[in-house]
């Protein structure tokens, strides 16, 4: 994807641009990542906050990324995953503020540096195979799968979102993992 100025950034260039307080890099980050960030913020906040508030949350994430860019370590993971960590934290903060009693589930704050993953290269064909496999799941399983393993949403939240029991979510995820494992011939 290109930014509004026709510029295209690699992840390293984007990170460096933001570190260097390059507004074009900021612009590019917004154009490239808004949908992904919105999707996670929407998952967490819809039902609690209106569209305008979700937009505020998403725009806060971009500003957070601009301010906290020095905390991002490219060796530890990719920039998109880091943005999703910021999104989750920001969305939970919004959710907490919305709650007039300030009651918050402590687990909501159990956000570790989950972007601190082994940075790995996966073959394009393997990625496509996984996507293809996930797309064979029924609509609900597919969404559960993606929200759990891409957005890192909690199983209890998914259970609430889909009106299913926790074990039903676990079972659907397990079933999916087995199918993918077989398709990829993974250990």
């Amino acid at each position: 994807m290109k930014g509004v100025n026709g510029l295209e950034y690699t992840q390293s260039a984007l990170v460096e641009g933001i570190r260097g307080k390059d507004v074009l890099a900021y612009e590019y980050m917004i154009s490239k990542h808004t949908k992904t960030i919105y999707c996670l913020a929407y998952n967490i906040l819809s039902g609690y906050l209106n569209k305008e508030d979700i937009e505020e949350c998403v725009s806060d994430v971009f500003l957070d990324a601009w301010i906290k860019i020095n905390e991002f370590d490219e060796e530890k993971g990719n920039f998109r995953t880091w943005l999703l960590i910021l999104t989750k934290y920001k969305a939970l903060t919004y959710k907490r503020k919305k709650n007039s009693n300030n009651v918050v589930d402590i687990e909501d704050f159990e956000i570790k540096d989950t972007y601190n993953l082994e940075k790995q290269f996966f073959l394009r064909q393997d990625q496509e195979k996984v996507i293809e496999t996930i797309n064979t799941f029924n609509k609900i399983d597919k969404e559960i799968f993606f929200r759990r393993y891409f957005f890192g949403e909690k199983i209890s939240d998914l259970a609430d979102a889909f009106s299913l029991s926790r074990s039903a979510i676990d079972n659907r995820l397990l079933r999916g993992r087995i199918i993918i494992k077989e398709e990829l011939n993974y250990e």
Binding site: V23, I30, I106, F109, T114, E118
Partner: protein
């Protein structure tokens, strides 16, 4: 294939594959990309504007400290004893009831060291050392382990070099500085959370004599002071203890700050209300005197760990009878004292002569003058009440209609510049948390005649 492996795999998907899937997940959800883009840029611009000024919701205070002090007026020894029995000295201050503190400072990560933590029912403070900026530290919250339904928020901070001192608040209640002391808690800072464990502080040692001021001699009724002599590192330390009859009065400082010219601004922003006040120029010294009337200064700790400071070091002789003189203390009345509406004239000046009752003093809003289409000026005269020993030093003045209020203090005459939108012709104001310097001239004879012993 386990969960971690799958998360790893999906996290490393190429962008185009992710974008396609996200599009599918967002089917039927309307996203206003332009609105988000606009908001993100507005926030960036606001951030740039704010870069050189401290921004924080509520209050950013320079020399101020908040602490809950006892509710009892110590009229006699036995009553005072009950009051002091409930006190807990902690770091360089004194609190009521149970309190917990951090035994040793330590690094929670590569960037942040926690130096001190103190929690009592009236105060929650943390001091950290870090090179990170306030923006980088982000939202700072405390969640007690024994009560995860509660989240405490930062209300104010001091910043000196790489030291940050945070004061927390409980916004859940009208009374903002009301906490349930806890031993273990989760600290949310810089976007991560850390478990912190505290030690319970020991109560005031009532086996060590406590000397009381003579409540019939000081100028301020209902406010009493006591003192204890302690020895630390071969030197004499004096621990001051305050007792207030009015439960809404809180000690802010034993030493009187010396102001030259003070300004106070309050601004309604996207981030909440931002208030700041000027730094004080220093402190008025207090002394103990020995039998030959030699004066020895009470020294503040070089780097106070918590506020208000009540523990002072002195070079006075340890084994002599001493007289401690405390001319003034600074207190805050933690309540809203008045609310009213003011019409803003289209042009010129209109006399108002509206009296404000600050409970311990009075003031008058003399007039309002239109300056421009978006600004006006309020003239206030303070300390118009009869008690000459109590002076107002600050107060909160907030209005939802006023974008920014800048007050310049000059003796008893204060000028408040108001900034607002063009279509505003009246504003509702709330006056709260006034601060006073009380000139009590307390005298504590540490010679045995007014000693409280267990």
């Amino acid at each position: 294939m386990n969960e971690d492996k799958l998360i790893e795999l999906l996290s490393n998907f190429d962008d185009d594959l992710v974008e396609k899937e996200v599009d599918k997940l967002l089917e039927g959800v309307e996203i206003d990309m332009d609105s988000i883009n606009k908001k993100a840029h507005q926030k960036l611009n606001n951030n740039k504007k704010a870069k050189h000024k401290k921004r924080f919701p509520f209050v950013a205070v320079a020399c101020v400290c908040l602490l809950c002090i006892t509710t009892v007026y110590a009229k006699d020894i036995s009553q005072a004893f009950k009051v002091f029995f409930n006190k807990t000295p902690i770091y360089s201050t004194m609190v009521d009831g149970d309190a917990y503190y951090l035994k040793e400072s330590y690094n929670i990560n590569d960037d942040i060291k926690i130096d001190t933590v103190m929690v009592s029912k009236g105060s929650l403070q943390i001091e950290i050392t870090t090179d990170l900026s306030m923006n980088e530290l982000g939202d700072i919250n405390i969640i007690p382990e024994n009560n995860t339904n509660i989240v405490y928020f930062t209300a104010a901070y001091n910043h000196r070099g790489n030291k940050y001192h945070f004061f927390f608040t409980n916004t859940k209640e009208v009374k903002k500085y009301n906490f349930i002391p806890f031993k273990d808690f989760k600290l949310i800072i810089g976007g991560s959370s850390y478990d912190v464990s505290l030690e319970k502080a020991k109560r005031l040692d009532v086996n060590n004599p406590i000397y009381m001021s003579d409540s019939t001699l000081n100028n301020i009724k209902g406010v009493n002071l006591g003192a204890q002599m302690l020895e630390a590192g071969g030197k004499l330390n004096i621990q001051l203890i305050t007792a207030f009859e009015d439960k809404d009065l809180k000690l802010m400082s034993i030493l009187e700050p010396t102001y030259t010219r003070t300004t106070m601004t309050s601004e309604n922003t996207d981030q909440g209300r931002v208030t700041s006040s000027s730094s004080c120029g220093g402190w008025v010294d207090i002394y103990v005197e020995d039998k030959d009337n030699h004066k020895y200064k009470l020294k503040m700790p070089k780097d106070p760990q918590v506020y208000p400071v009540t523990l002072f070091e002195t070079s006075a002789p340890k084994d002599e009878k001493l007289v401690l003189k405390v001319p003034t203390i600074t207190v805050c009345y933690e309540k809203t004292v008045d609310s009213f509406s003011i019409n803003i004239p289209n042009k010129g000046k209109v006399d108002l002569n509206k009296e404000i009752d600050f409970i311990y003093q009075k003031g008058v809003i003399k007039n309002i003058k239109r300056i421009s289409s978006t600004s006006a000026e309020l003239e206030l005269e303070l300390n118009t009440g009869v008690d000459e020993n109590i002076k107002i030093t600050a107060f909160g003045m907030h209005s939802p209609q006023i974008k920014k209020t800048s007050i310049i203090f000059s003796g008893n005459k204060w000028i408040a510049d108001l900034e607002f939108d063009e279509n505003i012709d009246s504003a509702n104001f709330e006056i709260s948390y006034p601060e006073f310097v009380m000139k009590g001239d307390w005298v504590i004879n540490m010679n045995g005649s007014n000693k409280i012993e267990k």
